[in-house]
């Protein structure tokens, strides 16, 4: 018994010493950074510090977080900002991670993805001198906590910027491509029923805008084509996505556009199995099936991250939304499969020019 008490006491002392010691070291590092930034100030201007907080998907998610990190690194190289990233391991980490960056005097803290809406809603008003950017969430959703805090005071969110992606535009281009392939019978092995398909994740605005654009794109070049649409009601069910895709292929679809995150990986599997075609989403997914993924409708999370940082560097950051579209390179198409004929690619590029020039208007409403 006595030995146990002794051991506990010894441990407590050790712990105290350790805490005291690291408290001391922390002070040292504090002064070091201060003197460093002092010398940098001497060379002209304070170095802007940017912190990126990932959601629970982690940095290697082949999607949003990875792209945001890419944008962050580009900014570090091109803009000379000091960057840092922290990966959230669980949802309750969001608030501490955002708060930690703000506490350490970071100029801009970027939150990746709509799961962090609530956390930014809570943290941003506490740090009016820190700017907060959130990827793929609009300003209003942050202020109102996705509509749950409808009476929130906007003036407390003068340091927050949202980012919106006009994904109906890249969806439209994917539709033009699919419609033309059907019309011209331009790829090997088509079933000849002038039908394409869509597998949606969940019927929410960020998914539906892609689908709406796709429907309009197909109809614009191939009015008789049939567009099948089915939702998997999940983003993490590749098997379910595969089954829906197989059903659509069986109904005569030759190209299936997946707007379903992880579920959509099953769609690409199905395309490979049936030797038919798919269109990827969010990131360039051609590498997942170079012959079968004829292109990808991409959301430029990297561009958005970079632009948020650039706005802070340029002093143009202000509360509200940053909008990303074809014109500013925030959305677009990925790599085309080699088998896609050049004349179709030319027509898709022409459609892109027309959208940029404002000649084509695209609705974000799905036709069901």
């Amino acid at each position: 018994m006595r030995i146990k008490r002794l051991a506990v006491a010894a441990l407590l002392v050790l712990a105290l010493v350790a805490v005291a010691a690291c408290g001391g070291t922390a002070k040292n590092t504090g002064t070091q950074t201060a003197s460093e930034s002092g010398s940098e100030q001497g060379q002209g201007g304070k170095v802007i510090k940017v912190g990126l907080v990932t959601d629970v998907g982690g940095l290697d998610d082949h999607g949003f977080n990875e792209l945001a990190y890419k944008g962050l690194q580009k900014a570090a190289q091109d803009l000379g900002v000091q960057v840092n990233v922290v990966q959230s391991k669980q949802q309750s980490d969001y608030i501490p991670n955002l708060t930690n960056f703000a506490n350490q005097g970071y100029d801009l803290v970027i939150a990746v993805g709509f799961l962090m809406t609530d956390a930014v809603h809570q943290v941003a008003p506490q740090f009016p001198n820190t700017k907060f950017g959130i990827i793929d969430v609009d300003y209003n959703s942050v202020v109102t906590d996705s509509g749950q805090d409808a009476n929130a005071d906007k003036s407390k969110y003068a340091n927050v910027a949202g980012t919106i992606f006009k994904t109906e535009q890249c969806g439209y281009l994917a539709g033009v491509l699919a419609g033309l392939v059907e019309k011209n019978n331009a790829l090997p092995g088509l079933q000849g029923k002038n039908t394409v398909g869509v597998v949606g994740g969940i019927a929410i605005p960020p998914v539906d805008s892609y689908i709406a654009g796709f429907q309009q794109g197909v109809k614009a070049v191939n009015p008789d084509a049939k567009v099948l649409l089915e939702y998997a009601n999940a983003f993490d069910n590749p098997q379910g996505g595969k089954e829906i895709a197989l059903a659509e292929y069986a109904q005569g679809a030759d190209i299936v556009f997946q707007v379903a995150g992880g579920t959509g990986l099953g769609v690409i599997d199905a395309a490979k199995e049936k030797h038919l075609y798919a269109i990827g989403v969010d990131a360039d997914q051609n590498y997942l099936g170079p012959d079968n993924v004829i292109t990808s409708a991409m959301k430029g999370v990297d561009t958005a991250t970079y632009q948020l940082i650039k706005a802070v560097v340029d002093g143009t950051f202000k509360a509200g939304d940053f909008t990303f579209d074809l014109a500013n390179g925030g959305v677009g198409l990925g790599v085309f499969a080699k088998s896609v004929p050049q004349d179709i690619i030319d027509q898709v590029n022409q459609a892109a020019e027309d959208i940029k020039a404002g000649k084509i208007q695209i609705s974000a409403q799905v036709q069901k």
């Binding site: 030995i3 146990k4 051991a7 350790a18 960056f101």
Partner: protein, 349 residues
């Protein structure tokens, strides 16, 4: 007696120290400074009131669920389904928290906590407990399977199901202020749940070591046949032990929901119920040991962010250290035998 007690404390402590040592070697191999990494880790975990609060915030659900797992270990049962009981507790607490209106805080908050506790308790006792007691179905299988059911039930409820809040984020509506566990340290996520967790540890200690039921639980755990031969109703002990264990895991979910998350949301990757098993093992199924082990894991979690931010060490390295701890607990026989040998040598000298 004193030497076994000292060993009981020394072995887990050495396991942790060894895992940090091996973790440090891995930090070096990955090209970072281990001292800077651990300083950042400690600093991030304990360096300020805010950081300490973060550590304890993570420790609270681990304490409660860990106590639950430890209780069944004492009864010779292996309740690895704390995760499911935790989620059932979260569901019940969230529902009572947002759907029941017009109650004063001193009724609403206890009611929500009780709902979570009971939900977890019944989830553990009614099916795995009863099956084990009367058919011998192994609780490792049944509690595990019940976990999957609970997690997917929670998922269904908030992903388009009846508990989903308006909008398209998969989460329930926020619990009402009358059902919210107030913050213990203002401006942090640390709630009064910490006090509940410490009280729960005292209660578990009291029940295990100062009541007849606790004696029966320990007797059944040491040798079920002997306990039965001594006239104890082992079936009843099994069901009750599962009930207590599930109640603690359910309370963990309720405290997390009412004190930290304030709603049910898609946080299944936190896995507190699974980490709780390690916490119970590291704490040697002793209530105070469980509290200490939970704080350690809370510190690892809170310090991980600081390690990334300040030392540039990937957060996954903390997972490696945690894995090492589990490894060294699993092979604690090695540490024991080394201790025994050094003692023997000391005695001979």
């Amino acid at each position: 007696m004193t030497s076994t007690r000292a060993t009981a404390v020394l072995v887990p402590v050495l396991s942790v120290l060894l895992s940090f040592l091996v973790g440090g070697v891995i930090v070096v191999i990955s090209g970072h400074d281990p001292l800077a990494a651990y300083v950042a880790l400690l600093q991030g975990a304990f360096g300020s009131v805010f950081n300490l609060a973060n550590t304890l915030t993570v420790a609270v659900p681990l304490m409660l669920a860990g106590l639950g797992v430890a209780f069944t270990f004492r009864a010779g049962l292996f309740n690895i389904g704390a995760e499911g009981q935790y989620w059932l507790g979260s569901i019940a607490a969230a529902w009572v928290g947002y759907a029941v209106h017009g109650l004063p805080v001193w009724v609403h908050l206890p009611l929500a906590l009780l709902a979570g506790t009971l939900a977890g308790a019944l989830w553990a006792a009614l099916i795995p407990g009863v099956l084990k007691a009367w058919t011998g179905a192994h609780e490792v299988i049944t509690t595990m399977m019940m976990s999957y059911i609970a997690i997917n039930l929670a998922r269904y409820l908030i992903e388009g199901g009846p508990m989903m809040a308006p909008g398209y984020t998969p989460q329930s509506p926020a619990v009402l202020p009358t059902a919210t566990l107030p913050a213990l340290v203002p401006g942090t996520q640390l709630s009064w749940g910490l006090v509940l967790a410490v009280l729960a540890a005292v209660a578990v200690w009291f029940v295990l070591y100062r009541t007849t039921f606790g004696f029966e639980v320990r007797a059944a755990g040491l040798n079920g046949r002997a306990a039965r031969y001594a006239g104890m109703n082992v079936a009843r002990i099994i069901v009750l032990a599962m009930f207590v264990s599930g109640a603690l895991a359910g309370l963990a979910g309720a405290v997390q929901t009412l004190g930290v998350n304030h709603r049910l949301f898609d946080a299944f990757n936190a896995g507190y119920g699974y980490t709780a098993i390690v916490v119970a093992l590291l704490g040697k199924n002793n209530p105070w040991g469980v509290l200490a082990a939970a704080v350690l894991f809370g510190a690892l979690n809170a310090g991980a962010s600081a390690m990334q931010m300040q030392a540039g060490v990937p957060a996954h390295l903390v997972d490696v250290v945690q894995g090492m701890i589990i490894f060294f607990i699993a092979v604690d026989g090695i540490i024991r035998s080394v201790l025994r040998r050094t003692r023997k040598e000391a005695a001979q000298a």
